[in-house]
Subunit: 220 residues, 2 copies
Amino acid sequence: MAETRSVDTRERILDTAERLFTANGFDGTSMRQITGAAEVNLASVNYHFGSKEALMREVFRRRLAWLNTERLRVLDEMESKAGDKPLKPSQIVEGFFGTLLSMAQDESRGGVTFLRLLGRTLTDPADFIRTFLADEYQEVVERYKSALFKALPDVPRAEIAWRFHFMLGATSYAIAGTDALRLVTDWGVEDEDAIDRLDRLPQRLMSFLLGGLRAPLPKF
Amino acid sequence: MAETRSVDTRERILDTAERLFTANGFDGTSMRQITGAAEVNLASVNYHFGSKEALMREVFRRRLAWLNTERLRVLDEMESKAGDKPLKPSQIVEGFFGTLLSMAQDESRGGVTFLRLLGRTLTDPADFIRTFLADEYQEVVERYKSALFKALPDVPRAEIAWRFHFMLGATSYAIAGTDALRLVTDWGVEDEDAIDRLDRLPQRLMSFLLGGLRAPLPKF
DNA sequence: CTAAAATTCAAACGAACGTATGAATTATTG
DNA sequence: CAATAATTCATACGTTCGTTTGAATTTTAG
C-alpha cells in the first residue's frame, strides 16, 4: 500500500497548501504550516515536489489541467455545431467564464478556495508565478480571443483584447471576493441577498461582462 | 537642516518602498532591500515609521489621502451643480474611476507605480492590509454608492453594489497590468497600439464600465 | 522470505528576516 | 557657545525560513 499512502501524502499536501495559500498567500505560508496542518513530515514536500515553488505550481497545475481541457472542449463543441458561422459573443463569454465559475460548485475541482487563489494570484508580482500562469493560460486564451475576433469582425482587435482583459479583471476580483472594501457586506439590503450571493453571482457577472463587451466603442 | 534631511530620509524610504512593494510584493520585499536601495540606514525605517507594516500603511496613506479628498471634492461639486436632480451614472463613474486613473499621469502622486500597487493590494490576503484599506476607502465608497442608488432608482441596490464591485475589479486588474496572460502584448496588432496603451486606457475602460453598469438585469 | 526501492522521520544547516540597542553624529535652541 | 534634542549608524539579537541529510521504516518485487 506504499503507493496509496504516498498518494495520500501528496494529495493531503496539495489540498492543505491550496487552502493556506488562499488564506495567507504564497510568501505568507510556511512549509511548516503546510506540513503541520497536513500532518505530514516537513521533508515530505521537498521529497514529493522538490521545492516550495514547485509545490505552488503543482497546486495550480492539477486544477488548470482540467479547466483548460474543459474550456477547449466547450469551444470545440460550439464551433463544430456552428459550422462556418461565427459564434455569438455571449456563447464565447459563457464558455470561457461559465466554465471557470462552475468550478466554484465542484469541491473536487477545488471549489471556491481554488477560485479565490486563482483570482488573487493573477495579480501576484512573483516572477515564477507570472511565468507559470502565462504558460498555462496562453493556448486557451488565444483560442477564445480568436473566436471573439471572428464573432465581432467590425470591432478593432485591440478593443476586443482590452475588453477581454477587463472581463478577466472583473471576474478575478469578483471571485477573489476580498470584501476589502466591504462593498458587498455593508450595503444594508434585504437579508435574502446575503444568502444567494454565490448562486446568483454567475448570472450577475455574465450580464455585466456582456454589457461591457457590447458597449459602444470609445471615441478618441 | 536636520528637519530637511529627515524629511529627505522619510520620503526616500517611502518612494523606494512604494516601488519595491509594487515590484515584489510586501512579503517579497525586505527592509534591507528597501534601506539599501534608498541608501539609508537599516534602522531608519523603524525610527521613522515604527515597523514594516506601519511603513506599508504610510505608503498608502499619503497617496490615498489625496485620492479620497479629490474624489469627495468632485462628487460634492457635481452634486451641488445638479441641485436636487440625480446625477447621470456616467458622471458618477467618471468621478470615481477617472480620478483614480488621473493619478497615472501624475508622478507626484505616485504615477503608475502606485496604481499598480493599489490594484494588486486590493486582493492581498494579509489581514492588516485588508483592514487598513477598508478603513481608508469606506467613506468615499459609501458616498459614491449612494449617488448611484439615487441615479438608478429602478435598479435593485444589490445589483448596483455588485456592479460597483465588478467595475472595481476590472479597473484594478487593468491597472495592475500584470500581463500575466500576455493578453495585451501578444495579439499581433498594429504597432501604434503598443504606444498609446496608457493614454487610451481611460476611455476604453470607461466605455466598458458604463456598458457593464447599464447592462440588462439578469433573470434569475 | 528476502533484497531492493520508496517513503517517512527527526534533526540540523546556513541564510535571511524584522527589530532593538546604545553610541556617534548632526541639528536645534536658548 | 553650550545644552539639548533629533537623527544616523554599526552591530547584534532571537526567530523563522526553505532545504538537506542520513538513518529508520514501510512497501514492492523476485
